[in-house]
């Protein structure tokens, strides 16, 4: 009995230690901003916020949790975070359900690449229709005439194609299916666009790592992953024919180029199948979302100011860190729109200095 009581007391002590620890950071006068959402930009955001913390002399700490785009949107809607982050922009319906106006700020660009595992590791060329038919199971062999047609110089093996797709709901699947919906009518009718799809063939892998794992382990497999992921794991990826008919290699330059087109003021636009002749066709923005009016839920002006400052920094200096982490920079035309949008943020109706 004594032992039991003793352990209870010990347990209590441990818990209170944790709580004290939590309180301590609040005591000193500094701002801690909360963000949550997409996992895709998480490595970049972590790096940014780390640098920002040092840069502000340990005054502004940003706590970002990669819980997924859907979670990011939900947490912003419920007003439990200062900003959300998402790989898919909010739909009109979602915006209508929000308590107040929300603005979207693109922070970086990513791309989805087609990766595969074939003997001799050839560099292949694909068109959108071809990718759609492969991932719907309409083309089942690597030596199919339609693959040969685009890759006449490559000796393609008589091998079954194993399709690898994401099993978890994901922004990557969203961007990938968004592109295929735009380039293939059959895809549009049979599969559609979404974070999870009703796949007719193939294997599902959890996360980029899961898909990459299936592709790396299975000869004859084809899958789609984030560019960063294929780069880090030295996976072969294909060139994709864009709208203007050029076969484009996915790299930071061609991804940025994809966004160098006319972008609407609210930045809620899909840049897949871009009109830019040098743009990689399966590129996408990732966004930070915030409320336009910052006086809500008992927030004070300091918090709002800190947030706006952070956003301005993200839209300018922070962009220089993107490329080392293999995220493409926001092109100048989009930076300009971001600047206007950030300047439109208010506190009690007044613009924030």
């Amino acid at each position: 009995m004594k032992k039991f009581l003793l352990s209870l007391i010990l347990l209590g002590l441990i818990f209170s230690l944790f709580t004290f620890y939590g309180c301590k950071s609040g005591e000193e006068k500094k701002v801690e901003l909360l963000g949550a959402g997409a996992t895709f930009p998480q490595p970049l955001y972590n790096k940014w916020f780390d640098i920002y913390y040092t840069k502000t002399g340990s005054k502004v700490k940003v706590n970002y949790q990669g819980i997924g785009s859907g979670g990011g949107i939900q947490q912003l809607m419920e007003r439990v975070v200062d900003f959300g982050a998402t790989d898919a922009f909010m739909s009109d319906e979602e915006l209508k359900n929000a308590l107040a106006e929300i603005i979207h700020i693109p922070t970086a660009l990513g791309a989805v690449v087609i990766t595969y595992n074939l003997p001799e590791n050839p560099k292949l060329k694909f068109s959108g229709e071809l990718i759609a038919d492969i991932f719907m199971g309409k083309i089942t062999k690597w030596n199919d005439s339609r693959i040969k047609e685009l890759n006449p110089d490559i000796n393609l093996p008589d091998l079954d194609i194993t399709v690898a797709h994401r099993s978890d709901g994901s922004g990557t699947t969203y961007v990938f299916s968004d592109y295929l919906t735009k380039v293939s009518i059959t895809w549009k009718n049979e599969m559609g666009t979404g974070k999870s799809l009703d796949w007719k063939v193939g294997l599902g892998g959890k996360g980029n790592a899961g898909v990459a794992g299936i592709v790396q382990q299975t000869v004859g497999a084809i899958g789609y992953v984030e560019l960063i992921y294929s780069e880090q794991n030295n996976m072969q990826y294909g060139l994709i024919k864009n709208k203007k008919g050029n076969f484009i290699e996915p790299n930071l330059n061609s991804i940025s180029k994809a966004a160098s087109v006319a972008i609407p003021k609210d930045t809620r636009v899909s840049i897949v199948n871009t009109d830019n002749p040098e743009g990689y066709p399966i590129s996408s923005f990732t966004w930070i979302i915030v409320y336009k009016e910052q006086n809500y839920g008992g927030r004070d002006i300091d918090r709002a100011k800190a947030l706006v400052k952070l956003l301005k920094w993200i839209n300018s200096e922070a962009q220089d860190y993107n490329e080392q982490l293999l995220y493409a920079k926001i092109p100048d035309n989009v930076k300009k729109i971001n600047e206007e949008n950030i300047n439109s943020i208010t506190f009690s109706g007044k613009p924030i200095e």
Partner: protein, 287 residues
């Protein structure tokens, strides 16, 4: 005396808390499933479509996937767990060595399932792939069969240790009776020990079946995660638990979330039934 009473009351309250918790989980599952139950009704159990894009959901592929992997894994595990329990209780007379063996068997149950899953993905899947290449099936490595093998490894400790307990509960007099009639060790086992402990062994299998039913992480890693009704044991598939693990975080629409929770409800109810049945049989199992 008063202290005694207070102690009893505290224990009672804590005990009640568990009952409330369990019913609470059940009720919240039911409550959150209502939108999906309203929309799809009983058809939810029989529809093969799982299409988040069109907001149409049906649980059949996952119910089949779960039943198939759990049953297969049980079948694979039976020879092993039965042999282990007989070996530990009847053959190995040295109590100390038997204890060491048992500890190792039980340690298997302590391996975090994600590690079993990793092992399955990187060690077992390539082996299965080689087998598939030899027998002319598309060599994908992962799928229902791989998941079943992984599951069987994870459930062996459960049925083996229950089996060992019930076999050692067979009274010595009965066994001695058989031996004095001239039965060999094997015959004693066959005629007396096993029939005597059959119910208990069966209950052990049932409980390990329940365990296989709900296992999530390891299965998710090796089953291939295809939301279709499997056409062969080498097909990729999906279980109810792995589906929830895969899709819940990004399930954005209300109906989507609700359908996933309803899958959880089905899983909860079936697992409960299996567990209750197993326990009832064990309780009835008295000499």
């Amino acid at each position: 005396m008063r202290k005694d009473r207070a102690f009893k009351i505290i224990l009672l309250l804590l005990g009640l808390l568990i009952i409330i918790l369990l019913s609470g989980i059940f009720l919240s599952l039911v409550f959150s499933s209502i939108p999906s139950i309203k929309e799809f009704g009983i058809n939810f159990l029989f529809s093969k479509t799982w299409s988040p894009v069109n907001n149409k959901f049906g649980a059949l592929p996952f119910i089949i996937g779960t039943l198939l992997t759990a049953t297969l894994s049980l079948l694979i595990s039976i020879p092993f767990s039965l042999s282990i329990s007989i070996f530990l209780s009847e053959i190995l007379k040295n109590k100390f060595i038997s204890k060491i063996f048992q500890t190792f068997v039980e340690l298997i149950a302590g391996i975090p399932s994600v590690i079993v899953g990793l092992w399955g993905l990187f060690i077992l899947a390539p082996v299965i792939r080689n087998i598939q290449t030899k027998i002319g099936v598309q060599p994908i490595g992962v799928g229902i069969f791989t998941a079943s093998i992984i599951l069987s490894i994870m459930i062996i400790p459960y049925s083996a240790s229950i089996g060992k307990e019930v076999i050692s509960m067979v009274p010595n007099e009965v066994k001695e009776g058989a031996i004095s009639l001239g039965a060999t060790e094997f015959e004693t086992l066959k005629i007396v020990t096993l029939p005597f402990s059959f119910k208990g062994i069966f209950a052990g299998f049932l409980l390990s079946f329940g365990r296989a039913f709900g296992e999530t992480m390891a299965v998710t890693m090796v089953i291939g995660n295809a939301n279709r009704v499997p056409v062969s044991i080498f097909s990729p598939g999906q279980t109810m638990a792995s589906l929830i693990a895969n899709e819940f975080t990004e399930a954005t629409t209300k109906l989507y979330t609700s359908s996933l929770i309803q899958i959880g409800l089905i899983l909860f109810v079936i697992s409960m039934l299996i567990n209750i049945l197993g326990r009832l049989i064990i309780r009835r199992f008295t000499f």
